[in-house]
């Protein structure tokens, strides 16, 4: 069996077309070098099915397979799904730590320590006012000053408390807006559902919609930073997503989107829910109220033991911490009692209260400040930790899926040269046929 004279032309044409596709893919990679979530693609080239000649192809009459050039087998998306899994787990942690650090940071700012406006300074001035009153117990200026200082101390407690309440409220608001119908979680989920549908149509037709899959992976990354996300890939190219709790029913499956149960959200949502919950900022408020109560009770205790009217009033209604918010001065400059007796210079009570400086109220407040500071420090440390881990996984992922321009330039030259060589092969073939068709058998003409 003989082989067609034009066989080689077809082989070269295949080469030309395949190298052109490879060049196109390289161009696509270069164009998307800085596209977020893009995975590099490659045209998988493979030898085209050979022309099988059953017999008589070679000397001795045996058959042979004659190569017929190259074909593009697939356009492959270079990506490691295991790294995606790792990245999303880290992104969930990072989202949680970042939101926690942010909230605690704001709470720490509300304390305004160390500064001239902090509670520590106000307390110190309050004790100082009692000592000044002890030095001149009947002086109306000293009395007025004491009541003023006490008022600004109570005000400082209330301000810090309301700032804390604001931080908790903001966390609760953000949580609500993220999870509400039409919120970010639902938006992302709906986009994923839409992409699932499109991808399924292509995959069942045997196609691989690489760029759509990249888009979906990017959305899943975003979702993972909001809350714990677990993903099951189906054969038809779609993904089922369980969000915000391992045992919850899936948020996205074949039926589309269902609102997530959020039993244990993790991620940013988890941190926000914790901050707004009883173990979050509310525990700060409770501790602040405990400090305020210690302070008020120590002053009132000394006064009431001597039969004098209490200095501070507050509402203590557990479980909510209300002392810091409701602390107020119950006496006026005229009714302050610096001494057990009502004689003008009687100052034994003022002396005793002045001695409270540096006592229980101060030390419990200082310890409280240290606790708040440590928690912020710890949260920041964990955030930095999670960030480092996330960056490491991100680097590994980039290493596999990212576009390297140098590499693409190399490929560009490789495929260009192959294209040039294929066309040279084709023109050689052409020349050969030219000789055969136009010059052969013209002897004597």
């Amino acid at each position: 069996m003989s082989i067609s004279s034009f066989y080689g032309l077809q082989t070269s044409l295949r080469g030309l077309l395949a190298q052109q596709r490879a060049l196109d893919t390289t161009g696509h990679n270069i164009a998307n070098a800085s596209t977020q979530g893009y995975s590099r693609q490659e045209a998988v080239l493979a030898a085209a099915p050979a022309l099988a000649i059953p017999q008589g192809a070679v000397q001795g009459g045996a058959g042979a397979h004659i190569g017929s050039g190259v074909d593009v087998q697939a356009y492959r998306r270079v990506r490691d799904t295991f790294l995606d899994l790792q990245f999303r787990a880290q992104a969930t942690r990072l989202g949680e730590q970042a939101a926690r650090a942010e909230g605690l940071d704001r709470a720490e700012l509300a304390l305004a320590e160390p500064s001239e406006n902090g509670i520590n300074k106000q307390l110190s001035e309050f004790w100082g006012a009692w000592s000044d009153l002890a030095a001149d117990a009947s002086d109306s200026a000293a009395r007025t000053s004491l009541v003023e200082k006490a008022g600004s101390l109570a005000q400082a407690f209330a301000t810090v408390d309301s700032q804390f309440a604001l931080v908790a409220e903001q966390a609760a608001d953000e949580y609500a807006s993220l999870t509400a119908p039409g919120g970010e979680v639902e938006q992302i989920a709906n986009e994923i559902v839409a992409l699932n549908g499109t991808i399924k149509r292509f995959v069942t037709a045997g196609d691989a919609p690489n760029d759509l899959m990249d888009q979906r992976d990017l959305l899943l990354d975003k979702l993972a930073s909001l809350g714990s996300t677990s993903i099951v890939s189906n054969l038809d190219g779609t993904v089922d997503v369980t969000f915000g709790g391992a045992g919850d029913p899936p948020m996205i499956d074949a039926a589309g989107y269902q609102a997530p149960a959020l039993s244990n959200p993790g991620g940013r949502l988890g941190a926000l829910r914790d901050l707004a919950g009883p173990s979050g900022i509310d525990s700060y408020r409770a501790e602040l109220s405990a400090v305020a109560k210690t302070m008020a009770d120590s002053v009132n205790g000394i006064l009431t033991a001597a039969g004098a009217p209490p200095f501070f009033t507050y509402t203590d209604a557990p479980p909510a911490a209300t002392v810091a918010a409701t602390l107020s001065v119950a006496v006026t400059a005229a009714t302050v009692r610096p001494g057990t007796s009502t004689e003008p210079a009687a100052n034994d009570l003022a002396l005793q209260i002045g001695e409270l400086r540096g006592g229980g109220a101060d030390s419990s407040y200082n310890a409280y400040v240290a606790r708040v500071g440590s928690r912020v420090r710890e949260a920041r440390r964990q955030e930095a930790n999670a960030e480092a881990l996330t960056n490491a996984v991100q680097d590994r992922r980039e290493s596999v899926a990212g576009v390297s321009l140098d590499e693409e330039m190399g490929n560009l030259i490789r495929f260009q040269r192959a294209y040039q060589a294929s066309s040279r092969a084709m023109s050689t073939m052409d020349e050969m046929l030219d000789v055969l068709i136009n010059r052969t058998g013209r002897v004597g003409l």
Binding site: W127, A134, S341, L351, V403
Partner: protein, 306 residues
């Protein structure tokens, strides 16, 4: 598999490095500008809380110093009055010795008695001395003069002590109250009406005996006067001892304040030399990172293909 370094990775890492270095730079700059090692409790929770405690104790020390200074001027006021009272008593003693001599006729004794009465008024005025409008010798009843003005004609009740018998205390150190008041009743007494043998009672009797031309009684009064002068001197020396104690406490508190201030500065103030060195080395690191980043990003295979 060797790591592929992709363009995005390089850019991201350069940016992350630059951010890290410039964050450190900003932090150091903040330290230098504020001169504070600790600007927020989370910078160093333990030392932040320590700094708060030190600040409280320093303000306490300053308060004690103010208390002492106030007590000192209070005591000085008392001392001036007591010293004048001592002088007046000594004069009365002299007059009594002169009057006791029987060479005096009744008219001369009457003249001496007038002089004694004047001195008694001087003593009572001194006893009513005030410090910033507060009566020094009336115990805790500082708004009441300890002795009323002597009416004309004289009644014994006019010499009654009107103050309180409760002492006034000042806090001069943590847990150290000091009585600073001198009670008028302790050395001046309540006059003839109280018949307590104290200064005013004896003085009034001296005046009475002079007017009564009773030489023998006058001679008996002299040792009683002397005993009362001793009492006044005793009160003065007690006052002086208190002033010494205040002086010593003030010196000690100044030392405590200085050492607390030093500790506070060690805890929360920035070591400027160290911070500046940190600053310049971080600045150098930042510039190096910028330069390295710029040259890495610029170079690509395209520069060499032609």
């Amino acid at each position: 598999m060797s790591t592929r370094i992709t363009t995005g990775m390089t850019q991201r890492n350069i940016l992350a490095d630059l951010n890290r270095v410039s964050e450190r730079l900003t932090r150091t700059q903040e330290k230098v500008a504020s001169n504070r090692e600790i600007t927020r409790p989370s910078d160093d929770p333990f030392n932040a809380s320590r700094a708060l405690a030190l600040r409280t104790s320093m303000e306490g020390t300053q308060q004690y110093q103010r208390n002492i200074q106030d007590a000192q001027s209070w005591q000085e006021t008392a001392e001036v009055a007591l010293s004048d009272i001592t002088g007046a008593v000594a004069l009365v003693q002299e007059l009594a010795v002169r009057g006791a001599s029987d060479t005096n006729d009744p008219a001369a004794r009457l003249a001496i008695a007038d002089e004694v009465d004047e001195l008694i008024e001087r003593i009572k005025q001194n006893a009513n001395v005030t410090h910033r409008g507060r009566h020094v010798f009336s115990g805790t009843a500082t708004d009441t003069p300890p002795y009323a003005e002597t009416p004309d004609p004289y009644v014994p009740a006019a010499d009654a002590y009107n103050g309180s018998t409760a002492a006034i205390a000042r806090q001069i150190g943590p847990g150290v109250p000091l009585d600073i008041g001198v009670l008028g009743s302790d050395f001046l007494g309540g006059g003839p009406a109280a018949a307590d043998g104290k200064l005013l009672h004896v003085l009034r009797e001296v005046s009475q005996h002079l007017r009564a031309d009773d030489g023998a009684a006058l001679r008996a009064d002299i040792p009683r006067l002397e005993a009362n002068l001793d009492t006044v001197l005793g009160v003065r020396s007690q006052n002086g001892a208190r002033q010494n104690r205040l002086e010593a406490a003030l010196g000690r508190l100044a030392q405590v304040e200085e050492s607390t201030l030093k500790q506070l500065s060690n805890t929360e103030d920035v070591d400027i030399a160290k911070a500046l060195i940190d600053f310049s080395s971080q600045q150098a690191a930042y510039q190096a990172a910028l330069r390295a980043g710029a040259s890495i990003v610029q170079v690509s295979l395209m520069d060499f293909l032609r």
